[in-house]
Symmetry: C2
Subunit: 234 residues, 2 copies
DNA sequence: TCAAAAGTGTTTCCTATACACCCATGA
DNA sequence: TCATGGGTGTATAGGAAACACTTTTGA
């Protein structure tokens, strides 16, 4: 390995002292089911945090771009690609991982739970209601909180939540999703007005079926208005 | 080093293949001078990018928190501590650094150029107008662009720009700063109204001196309204 | 007396919010 | 016929933006 002369004023430590950090990616994968915002978690199997939930993560390979690592992890764990994925924050406290110096970059993603069969591997992969989680392994609860805050900021302006819904959805489902994410109640009339005004929805002229009340109209997301912007890492 | 069993399903590579990544921090330090937004840069001395500007950065030490590293770099290069510093994004393309696998986490900071004597070391440290920069060493131009975008988002809602001004400033200086950051012209009357309404300013009942026109009133930032929030890494 | 910037109000428009009733469907 | 949610409109308030003239000071 060549000497990194850009950093050469640090004479005291040699390169091999620095190239001893591992970088991981942790994905906070949100889903929506039964009117609740959920997050994909897995039982932790290291002894320090035995039995606690942890996020889906993996080490970044030496020959792998950081962004690519996040896509790989999502693909490996859920079978999904071409979904919304966004980098949120990098956590780097010295002792955040008991096995050594591991710095982690976190991404969040939004997927429609029902559309895909999760690859339930050897480990206990599980959709857990976000609001029920009070602690996790490592610093993952802090990571979850940070990503949830970011999600709440982003949904105010950006049409990303459609990734959480089936292709066809009713306005009730959409509003229920916003209420789950923001953890507030919204006025139905104003909600509808706002969405029609923003022109994010395409009326499918179809109706819900198998609901025990008057069926609502179904809509799909007006993807054409946004192109690929809402689908790729920024 | 203990085996990281959390990642043990990756059988093909051993721990020592992963713990070979270096992590750096790059700081985008903004200043304001002569009505222009400037950024602190340094001449690059590695052969691949000889003579190009680069950001202030350094490798994260193995026993140093990521956030601490950003404070250390700022302190070493500018003598400043207790300034606004915020993590923006982590860049991790495989070949972004010619000397090896170096992933960098970027922070931006806002400092008042005039208040401090920069520690001009052996290298050519320099305040450069942001708008004049078209290319930089490494991926630093992309980093700069990303941080500038973040700055523009943040100043819309958060009172952070006061770090760029002297303690006492006129409304003209404040407006000129906003115009420099956002790269737009603002209406003076609406600008004044907005700031008085937000209650971010304290009227010092003092006036500018040595200006070749009618002196304006001086104000200071109403720090009490925000406590430490605007001063620390979030 | 001139140049340059300080200081000041009003109107308009748009958006956000609050709020209540009838309608269609399935059970 | 009843329960459940679907669907609709209006009034109000507050913030954003557009816009022009007088005043003060230094040169």
């Amino acid at each position: 390995m060549k000497h990194i002369s850009r950093f050469s004023h640090l004479g005291e430590l040699s390169d091999k002292d620095y190239f001893r950090i591992a970088l991981s990616v942790d994905c906070v994968i949100f889903g929506f089911e039964d009117g609740e915002l959920k997050v994909l978690v897995i039982k932790c199997n290291i002894k320090e945090y035995k039995g606690k939930w942890s996020l889906l993560g993996d080490l970044v390979r030496p020959d792998e771009d950081l962004d690519s690592a996040s896509y790989r992890i999502l693909k490996e764990r859920t079978g999904l690609d071409d979904v919304y994925l966004e980098q949120v924050h990098t956590f780097g406290k010295v002792n955040r991982h008991p096995a050594g110096r591991v710095i982690t970059t976190t991404y969040f993603s939004l997927v429609n739970i029902k559309d895909y069969q999760l690859k339930l591997n050897d480990n206990e992969l599980h959709w857990h209601p976000v609001n029920d989680i009070k602690e996790m392994a490592f610093d993952h609860f802090e990571i979850l909180t940070t990503c949830l805050e970011r999600l709440r900021e982003i949904v105010e302006d950006h049409p990303v939540v459609f990734n959480l819904l089936p292709r066809k959805f009713s306005l009730r489902e959409l509003q229920s999703l916003y209420e789950a994410i923001l953890n507030i109640k919204l006025d139905r009339r104003n909600f509808r007005k706002k969405f029609f005004m923003m022109d994010w929805l395409i009326d499918l002229n179809e109706y819900e079926e198998d609901v025990p009340h008057r069926p609502g109209k179904l809509y799909k997301f007006n993807q054409a208005k946004f192109g690929k912007k809402a689908k790729k890492v920024s």
